[in-house]
Amino acid sequence: MVPIQFPDALDNTILQELYADDVNYATLMFELFLSEIVPQVYELKQVAEQQNWPLFRQISHKIKPTFGMVGITQMEHWFDKLEAAQDLQSATEIIDVVHTKLAQVLPVIHSAHTHLKSLQDEN
């Protein structure tokens, strides 16, 4: 069993506990994160502008643990704050921080996903 090597910028401790040597599982989760979760993060601003707070909290709560699935556990802290946001101004401020941080880490996620796909192809 050879553990998968992920980029240093990601939380390797949690990623090893999640996937160990299971390349197919890790690839699937990174794919789902990029295709399903990232668009939802960007849609949050629109939901906040509609002031639909039940839906806003529901989406924030639902996607929070998915960040750990790709090794960016530090984002969960911001989603705790989003779940607690009560007004447009505070929600928008936090969403802007989330978007900035996500933009910084997305190239690393894409790189990890590309690496996983190459490992899949090798097998």
Partner: protein, 230 residues
């Protein structure tokens, strides 16, 4: 031992993650994967689920509200991204409570504990002499002694007792698992008989009360072995 599992989570990554984790354990058999508690409720009512992986916060019906509606209590692993539900988990006496994302060691720890519990339960004799069935929104107690036979009619089963016939929405398999196997036996694909209520047996039929019940060829030998024949 095969453990029938149901996964309920409104988030797609969480559902697929649990499917992957379950596939690593040969003891676990995923019966269905549901995206809401509303979708899960009829599944839980129509078949026996041994292990329920249940998200707590879902739109519409929450995981805890779903537990309140269940006619029986499967082993439950609550999966949530919040730690605030620990007290609810304790109150609902769930088997385990896992914070998402679910790591492989934590998943294995929870599943090992449940397998141990289910093995212990399977090894001990049935503690009751009756069964409760849901009829018109009520749970009606049927003592095993009063049940004459059970007949499958597709989506429903007819339970004929000494007093009346009850029609229950379940499967023969589910019902069979709840009965005392020392008293009851599946004698045909569509009939379960209370062995102590048999009046007589002919070639391929037996009689209980006024009902002639077919005996399948496959079950005949076992039936004859279980009867005290002179």
């Amino acid at each position: 031992m095969k453990i029938n599992c149901l996964i309920v989570d409104d988030e797609s990554m969480a559902r697929q993650s649990l499917e992957r984790l379950c596939s690593k354990r040969p003891e676990l058999h995923i019966v269905h994967v549901c995206a809401s508690a509303q979708e899960a409720l009829p599944m839980l009512e129509s078949q026996t689920i041994d292990l329920l992986f249940l998200d707590v916060e879902m739109p519409g019906l929450t995981g805890l509200q779903l537990l309140d509606l269940l006619p029986y209590t499967p082993q439950v692993i609550l999966t949530t991204s919040k730690t605030e539900y620990a007290f609810d988990a304790f109150q609902y006496q769930v088997a385990d409570y896992i914070k998402k994302p679910i790591t492989l060691p934590r998943f294995n720890q929870a599943v090992d504990k449940i397998i141990e519990t289910l093995r212990s339960a399977a090894a001990s004799p049935p503690a009751t002499n009756d069964i409760y069935v849901r009829i018109d929104g009520r749970f009606v107690r049927l003592p095993f002694d009063d049940i004459l036979y059970i007949e499958n009619t597709g989506d429903y089963v007819k339970i004929r007792t000494t007093a009346q016939t009850h029609i229950v929405h379940t499967t023969m398999k589910n019902l069979e698992e709840k009965l005392d196997t020392r008293r009851f036996m599946r004698v045909h694909r569509t009939f379960i008989a209370n062995l102590s209520r048999i009046i007589d047996i002919e070639e391929n039929t037996l009689v209980i009360a006024d009902k002639v019940i077919p005996i399948s060829r496959a079950n005949k030998a076992e039936l004859m072995n279980r009867l005290n024949i002179l």
